[in-house]
Structures are given as C-alpha cells and as structure tokens.
C-alpha cells in the first residue's frame, strides 16, 4: 500500500459506509452480516438505479448494519482485518463516455459524484451541463491540497482526463491561485482560479461563478479532489486507493496535523489520545462549515477532510438557545454569507415558511446544506437553515420526479 510521503498514517480497527451521505438512495445489500469483504468490493447498490454500487472502504468482516427510522440504512460497519485484500478492476479499454461510466459504476467511484441542484448521486445516463473538480480547500486548518495533489499528480491527471470524457460538457478544474494545474486537452478541460475567504472552496461558489444554475431544470456535477485521486488510482493501478487525507485541528487537539487514514474511519478511534481532557465539541469539517457530531460512534463521511475538536467554551452552536420569537432580523452581516446574486433575507424567510416555490425562485436550487451554514450561525433567529433548506429541496425534488 502506498503511503503519502511526510504524512503520518493512523489506522483504525473499524470503518463504515454511511447511509445519509448518499441522499435519496434506498440501499440494497449485496452482502450479509458476518461476510468477509475485500476493500473496493461492492457491498450495496441503489435499489432504484441498480447500476450504482457502493464499495467497501476497507477489507474485513461486516460487523454491524445499523438501521434507523423506517429501516433506513444509517451505517454499514466493517471490522478491519489484516488481510489487506483488495478487489481488482480492469481499466477501461477506451476513453469513450460509455466505458468510463461503466468503469466508474462498477468500481463504485460513481457514488462520489454529486449533482447540483439537490446534491444527489447523478443518474448513470445523466447529462450534466458542466462537471466541476474541486481542487482546493480554503477552509481553516484544512489539509494542504497542493501537497496531496502533487504527490498523486499522475492519478489526478488520469482521472481528470477520464472525467472530461464522461460527457460532452466542459470540465472545470477549480484550483487555488498559487497552484497551477496544467492540462493538455484544453478544449474540454478548463482551469479556474478561486481565492478569497473560507467559502472559496465550496462547489456552490464555483458553480455560481462559472455555470450558475437557473430554473431550467438542468444539472451540473461536481467531485472533490480526493475522490478524483481515488478514481485515478483505480484507473492506473486497477485497485482502490485505501487512503484519505484528513486534518485534525481545533483548540482542544494536542497535536494538530494531517493524517492519512482509511476512508470511513471511526472518529472515536482516530481521536484516541489526541484530545485534551475536559468537555469538548467534535465537528465533522472545519470550524466554519463543520457539523457537530453527537458523542458516541461516528465515522468519517464521504468527502470529509477535517475533524475539528473545540473546547467547550469556544464558539456557539446552532439551534441551542430556546426562543419563542424566531423572526429573521436583517442586518448587513448576512449579506456576504451566501452566494452572490442570492438575496439572503428573502430566501431565509421563504425557507422559514417552507415556501418551496418562492425559495426555488430565489435560488435554493443553487444551494446545499453547507452553503447556508454561515447564515444559521449569524442569524439571530436560531433557525437551522440547513434543515429548512433540505426540506424545501426534498419538496422540489419530489415535484420534479
């Protein structure tokens, strides 16, 4: 197994695939409790779109299948064994759209693509208007994107070239200004520079700038840089990349640093002996866009790049202060916390009322939860706009089907 140079690795004994990471998917299990699985082997597929498969992040024995309300899958947990058995995949014979799509579907890499609007896994025969590769991370204490991509430059390039072939749409590689990524095939692949502020690495910002979503019913796809590297690994080596690079940060962490870990690692194990004593809050993601985790068992979610642990006194949290009056009070603070071109206050009011049609007109289709995180934190009403937005998006998606 290849190890990133200069990065400490930390391996855990349990990893999981999380159901809530894949919105709108009804999982059909391809394995049973107690089965031994190879890493990269398909363990689940989508009931509605059976071509879409989900592969095991690690090799080992399936130890628990956790289900929640209405038997929705919450997590499929795997006890890691030492066999390091990996599933092998035949790289696509040609570079045409069909064979690349089939390869991605078969290897499970398709499930790392996301659509905007809605943030779903795209349909296997979907037609995007554009594809976005997020090759920067501007959030505080994020792992160094540049080092990681440069280490896996071959894989990254192979995957970007392949992704450019999955449709006729242009592929935008969004990168930081000091990190030039040169691609030869410049007719299809376009590079775009983003800087300025913590929001510079949100796909919503890139899409809003380069291919803004209107009301016409089209969609764009996006994918994160580590998932691109994982795809490149599959393409070049025929086997899955068993690593993700995450950073461990926050004022309650003893030794903040980047770590190479298994995808889907158990966060409790990762944090063992890393956190100062005393009460603390664990965030999945950065201190800006992170989502607070309940204590207990939790796993890295798909695309998670950071764990932030804050001491109990630092910062505030959303939705904690009970208040009977939840009116939105406009202020200048709110104006810059959302994508340009969207009026925050009318949108917040529409979300609060659950007025899906109005929210759609005001630009809700351009957004997913992470894009309204800052509004929830800044608004005096203590509304959780991420939840409200998801309700509205669910309504809109239901109407579209």
């Amino acid at each position: 197994m290849s190890v990133s140079p200069g990065l400490e690795t930390k391996y855990v004994s349990r990893a999981a695939l999380l159901g809530p990471d894949y919105r709108g998917v009804n999982f059909e299990l391809l394995c049973e409790l107690g089965d031994e699985v190879k890493s990269g082997a398909a363990v689940m597929r989508d009931l509605r779109r059976p071509e879409i498969r989900f592969s095991a992040p690690v090799s080992g024995r399936i130890s628990r299948i956790e289900r929640g309300a209405r038997r929705k899958l919450i997590s499929l947990q795997i006890d890691v064994d030492d066999s390091l058995a990996v599933a092998r995949f035949e790289p696509p014979a040609s570079n045409d759209s069909v064979s690349i799509r089939n390869f991605m579907l078969e290897s499970g890499a398709w499930s790392t693509l996301r659509t905007r609007p809605f943030g779903n896994i795209p349909d296997p025969d979907g037609k995007p208007t554009a594809v976005f590769v997020t090759a920067l991370d501007a959030e505080p204490l994020a792992p160094n994107t540049r080092t990681i991509i440069d280490t896996y430059l071959q894989e990254f390039r192979a995957a970007v070239n392949a992704l450019a072939g999955i449709s006729d749409a242009p592929l935008y590689v969004c990168h930081a200004p000091d990190h030039a990524l040169v691609f030869e095939d410049s007719s299809r692949i376009r590079c775009a520079t983003f800087n300025g502020g913590y929001s510079a690495s949100l796909p919503g910002v890139h899409i809003n700038e380069l291919c803004p979503i209107g009301l016409g019913g089209g969609e764009v796809w996006h994918i994160g840089y580590q998932d691109v590297i994982a795809l490149g690994h599959l393409l070049l080596h025929g086997k899955p990349w068993l690593q993700r690079v995450i950073s461990l940060g926050g004022n309650a962490v003893r030794n903040p640093r980047s770590l190479a870990v298994y995808p889907g690692s158990a966060i409790g194990e990762l944090l063992a002996k890393e956190v100062n004593d005393g009460p603390s809050r664990i965030l999945a993601g950065s201190s800006i866009y992170g989502r607070q985790l309940a204590t207990g068992s939790a796993y890295l979610d798909a695309g998670q790049r950071q764990i932030t642990v804050l001491g109990a006194s630092a910062g505030d949290s959303i939705g904690t202060t009970a208040s009977t009056n939840n009116a939105v009070i406009p202020s200048e603070t709110l104006e810059k916390l959302i994508l340009p071109g969207i009026f925050p206050v009318p949108l917040m009011r529409a979300l609060q009322l659950g007025d899906a049609e109005r929210a759609r007109e005001l630009g809700a289709l351009e957004l997913v939860e992470e894009d309204v995180m800052l509004l929830s934190r800044a608004c005096v009403s203590h509304n959780d706009y991420a939840v409200l937005l998801r309700d509205v998006l669910d309504q809109l998606e239901g109407a579209r089907r």
Binding site: T129, C211, P212, I213, G214, L215, G216, G218, E219, V220, T321, S323, T324, N325, A327, V328, I329, P330, S331, E332, T333, E335, G341, F343, V345, P346, E361, L362, G363, C379, V380, S381, H382
Partner: protein, 360 residues
Amino acid sequence: MNFLLPNSGNGRQRMLQLQLLALLPVSIAALVNTGYQYLVAVAQNNALSTDDFRSRLARGLGANHESLGLYDMLAAGFAHLVPILALALLVGGFWERIIAERRQTPMEPGFILVALLFTLLLPGAAAFGHVVFGMSFAMLVGRGIFGGDGKTFLSPALLGIAIVQVSFPGVADQHPLWSGLAGYAGSDAIAVYHRGGEAALSAIDIDLWSAFIGSTPGTMGTTSILAVLLGAALLLIERLIAWRLLIAQVIGLFVFATLFNLLGTGPGASAMPAYWHLLLGSFAFGAVFLACDPVASACTNPGRWIQGFTIALLVVLIRVANPTHPDAVIPALLLASILAPLIDHLVIAWNIRGRARRHV
C-alpha cells in the same frame, strides 16, 4: 467591539444592547442641549412663568438659571427628558406586559428601544398625555399586532411620533417656552430658514458649528449631528445597519437639494444648500436610527439604494414644497418605509427574471 459587551449571549439581545449603546451619545447630547435651550429661554425671557412641573423639577435638582454651567444644563435637561422617557417606558412596558400575557409568550425587551427613540423625537415640552397616546399607538399598532420584535412592518417609534405629529400639529405653539413654529414636527430652525434664509439663522445664533454639535432648538435627540455620527459609526462597525441605505440617503439629499438650488425660485427651502438640509432638523437622526431600522427597511441591496434615494427625494420635496411642514423627515420616512416591501418585491422579481434566463 466585543469588549464593549462581553458575554451578551443571545444574538437578539446583543443587537438590542448595541442599538441602545448607539443611542447613548444622542441621549447625552439631548440632555445637555435640552437643558441649554431651556436655560437660555428662561434667561432671555424674564416674564416666562416657571411654575410648571419641569421647571420646578429643574430648580429642585439645583439648576441655576443665572449661570450656564454643565451641571445646570444637565439638571435642566434631566428635568425635561427623563420624565418623558420614564413615562414612555412605563406605557411601553405596560402594553408589552399585556401583549405577552395575552399571547402567553415572554416579554421582549424591544419596547425599551421604542420608548427611547420615541422620547428622543419629542420636544422637551411634550405633553404627557401625548406621550401616553403616541407610545400606546406605537406599541399596539406599530408592534403588537404584527407579533413583536422583528416582525413589524414599520418602525414602531416612527409610527408613534407620526401619529402625535398628525394629531396635535400646533400644540407646542401654546407653550411659551417652546414657542415652536412647527409644533411636534420639529425643526424650528428650518422654519426660520424658510422665512429669512441664512441671515435669519445667524440672527438666532445658528451657524454650521452649532448645528453640527447640536446647540440648536429642535426635538430633543435630533439636534446633534456629532452624536448621531458616533452612533452611526458603532452601528456600521457592528454591521447592524445597511451602509448602502445610509449612504444612499446622504447622497440623495445632496443631489436633490442641489437640484432644487439650481431650479430654485424663492428664498425659502428651495434655496437651502444641501449641507443645511443635513445639519438642520432631524434628517441625520432619522436617517440613521429610523430609516435604517433593519426590520422596517428594504432587505435587498438594490432595494436599499432605491429606498435611500426615495427618502432623500421625499425629504427635500416636502421641505421645499410645504412650508407648514418644515422638517418633513417623519412623513418621508413613513412613506418610504411603507414603500419598502414594494421596492423589495420589484427587485426580487427582477432577480428571479435573471435567474430564469440562465441556460442551466
């Protein structure tokens, strides 16, 4: 600015505390200037009866009518401002309590801000009955029926003061001390300008400097531009008010006033240069504390520009065209505030059209 209000917790409370803090310089200026105006009037007019409640209170606090020391001014100002404020708070708290009980919700402290703003917009000699009337109207029609803080459609204090102005237009004329030319509508200074231009202003000792620091007659809180600027700075730094709306009002005032100067025909307010428009009357106060009320103003950025220019146009227009209403700020703000949802509606419709035109 966090050091000013450590541990202020809940965002809504902190917002209210900052708004009250921003009104502190204005309140101090109101105390001093009200006292000063009172003492000057008494000194100039020996025949004046000083037997009313406020004069007795001022004397009781030890305000010396002969000399004009800082303490005398503060004591005399206290005798005028604090009874009105206390009454306004009492009335506001009373209605808030009743509304909260009827609704079975906790009392919201927002009425404190309403009472303070309302008080600062009254002349020092406002009748107590009018305070009760205006404050009740503000609390019930301006605030209560819409559901409290953050849900109002007009600034409650603005509505309260407007109803007092409309209902008792000439009442302050009857008061010997505040021989107001304009009654509650405020600015004696602008009325003076109307009649005699700059010469008339200098005859009653108003120059640019005194108008800036606020030692001019007028409603209590609105005379000192300096104090308003301090409050505005705090609100802008804390990003509580929209700078676009504020700047649009000031730019608009200069543009439209200059326009009228160029077109102007008479010696009245149409010849008044823009800086006098800004310095006299309650424009500055209204622009910062009433027009920029975050809930009752436009909530989109283009809408804020439009509303700001609308306010400026209305203020200049009413001042020029209607000498019986020399200050014009309150009706202008009221009209613009009523227009705000319409402005927002048009801006949003335009925004949606742009979104619908995208090709995705």
